[in-house]
């Protein structure tokens, strides 16, 4: 079944001319047609563009041209990444007609690498949420159980990869928006170090925290996609000018002697017992493979959510001021300018976005700035220092990705309860560190996520440990029933 191919497998078969890029894209599009009515991962499917791009790759290969890194590989992009001439909505009414005049840098790099864009995926409006239920359009479903959420905010990208609709996808992660849906959907998701992947063309939510990263079916693919997107970019002033290592080169280095810190705060009462057990078992595997583990304490962990839900809304309230009905997106008719602004924003934004704009506006407003924004920024320093201190002694920090497995759609109504979902992922963004989530077991047939956190720019170390674990566990080969793994497709008909 062609659509189940990993990036590496597909590249090999394309190289050997066993399959063509067009066949691969057609298989992916058939899969989208077959399952996306129930998964609802896509906001936009770019069928004709995809077929044309795939045919172009085949023509180039036939003419003997050197093939770039991802030539002919079907991909999906979170709908907050600007794609030239292709609808980019942020799953918001306020941008539901927006066609960017340029590509985001990460998108441009993937297009240059020959990847074939299949479409744009659903998200919580403006990436604000942990379940994709805040999309203004529809809720994406978890391929492992369609009654459950895929996580969020990059739920569409995670679900599209888990359901084999594409080989890989990109998402963005501000407080866990790649790692938590990767955990819920049983795929690999990486948030690179802040500054590693250019944010140019990523529609801004909280600029000091946002980072683009890949969703893939296994760890090797994660390294391959990182090779394509991790690049210095002068168009993003927070892009760090440094060489991109070859992330695939060190994958099989093993974990012998690798020092792993295990922070007790991430295994505390708020974390499901089943999740703790699965993560502890993964740790035992890494230790059996030669890693050295030690329990540590990161006492400021508990403050992460409070810091995040002041800083991220503060930055969002400023970033989202640009949606005023003047330059792009939705405009409400009104007699004067102020009324036009107010009506446009009130009708265009959904309630979670409004809530965060309000919270951020308040936290930055005169008289409250010191008490909220400044205080949060100071505690952010403490969290960052605490990680830096731990990394003097350890190469990696190992935790669960999320406190539970995927929860049923419509069951978390209170905003604060929803925010608590990000407890294990938020501190990583506050400190700007790289981290990866990968499947480490199942509870009631729902995937559990293992989070590996690394030193700044040490993505290669994370990937090496993740690869060692993956080789040993074999978990990554499990597929949701949706894919009918083990049942040849022809026999299903």
């Amino acid at each position: 079944m062609l659509e189940q191919c990993t990036v590496a497998e597909a590249l090999e078969r394309l190289e050997k001319k066993e399959i063509s890029a067009l066949e691969l894209t057609e298989a992916a599009l058939r899969r989208v047609e077959a399952v996306d009515e129930s998964v609802k991962a896509f906001v936009t499917v770019t069928k004709n563009e995809a077929l044309a791009a795939a045919a172009l790759v085949d023509a180039k290969r036939l003419s003997g041209e050197a093939m770039p890194l991802l030539a002919g590989i079907p991909m999906a992009l979170k709908d907050n990444l600007c794609t030239k001439g292709v609808l980019t909505t942020c799953s918001s009414k306020i941008l539901d007609n927006f066609k960017p005049p340029y590509d985001a840098t990460a998108v441009e790099l993937l297009r240059d690498a020959g990847a074939v864009l299949l479409g744009k995926t659903n998200l919580d409006e403006f990436a604000m949420g942990s379940s994709t239920e805040n999309s203004a359009f529809f809720t994406t479903r978890n391929p492992w159980d369609l009654e459950r959420v895929p996580g969020g905010s990059s739920g569409g990208s995670a679900a599209a990869v888990a359901a084999d609709e594409v080989c890989f996808a990109l998402g963005s992660d501000t407080g866990g928006s790649i790692r938590q849906p990767a955990a819920f959907c049983g795929v690999v998701g990486m948030k690179p170090t802040y500054g590693r992947v250019s944010r140019y063309g990523l529609i801004a939510f909280a600029s000091s925290l946002d980072q683009i990263g890949p969703f893939t079916k296994d760890v090797r693919d994660c390294a391959i996609v990182m090779n394509a997107i991790a690049r210095y970019d002068a168009r993003d002033t927070t892009s760090v000018p440094m060489e991109t290592p070859d992330y695939t080169a060190q994958l099989s280095g093993g974990v012998k002697g690798l020092r792993i810190g295990v922070p007790q705060e991430y295994f505390a009462a708020g974390i499901d017992q089943d999740v703790r057990n699965a993560v502890q078992q993964a740790l035992a595997v890494l230790v059996a493979l030669g890693a050295e583990a030690e329990e540590i304490s990161l006492p400021h962990t508990d403050y992460g959510i409070a810091v995040y839900y002041l800083i991220a809304p503060a930055e969002a309230s400023s970033n989202l001021a640009r949606y005023d009905g003047v330059q792009y997106g939705y405009r409400a008719e009104a007699d004067n300018l102020l009324e036009m602004y107010q009506k446009t924003r009130s009708r265009g934004f959904g309630s979670e976005v409004k809530r965060r704009i309000m919270l951020g506006t308040y936290a930055l407003s005169s008289g409250y700035y010191d008490a909220y924004y400044l205080k949060a920024s100071q505690v952010r320093t403490l969290i960052k220092q605490e990680f830096a201190e731990a990394f003097k002694k350890f190469d990696l920090i190992l935790t669960p990705t999320a406190p539970s497995t995927a929860f049923p759609v419509g069951t978390v109504e209170d905003p604060l309860t929803m925010y608590l979902n990000d407890i294990c992922t938020i501190p990583v963004n506050l400190a700007g560190l790289p981290a990866l989530s990968m499947p480490c077991g199942f509870v009631n047939n729902l995937p559990v996520g293992l989070q590996l956190i690394g030193k700044p720019f040490a993505e290669a170390t994370i990937l090496r440990a993740a690869y060692a674990y993956e080789q040993h566990s074999g978990l990554i080969k499990q597929k949701p029933a949706l894919s009918g793994k083990g049942v040849p497709q022809d026999e299903q008909i």
Binding site: I305, Y309, R345, L374
Partner: protein
């Protein structure tokens, strides 16, 4: 209660949002719950701690002062709700 409905109305006007009375009250409740949760930060002494605005040791990133191609005005206006003579058109500002 940290935020009264009246303050919520003020913040909404700063954010250029308008809200119905019942929405205002719902927001007041939710925002207060979040702010009360954030109160735990006051347990920490932060007097001599420098704030972190972003994590990178990058400051004052400059580029050469050279003209490079940018977005053309036609492309910039493609998504405009209303445009005229190469400009964004908005409701009358000056009487």
């Amino acid at each position: 209660m940290k935020l009264t409905s009246k303050e919520v109305a003020h913040v909404a006007s700063l954010a250029r949002l308008e809200m119905a009375e019942d929405e205002m009250e719902k927001f007041a409740g939710q925002l207060n719950a979040i702010l009360e949760f954030a109160d735990k930060l006051n347990r920490l002494e932060t007097k001599d701690i420098l704030p972190t605005a972003h994590v990178l040791p990058l400051n004052n990133v400059f580029r050469e002062d050279r003209v490079t191609p940018g977005l053309e005005s036609k492309a910039a206006l493609l998504n405009a709700p209303e445009a005229e003579e190469g400009m964004f058109r908005v409701p009358r500002v000056i009487e």
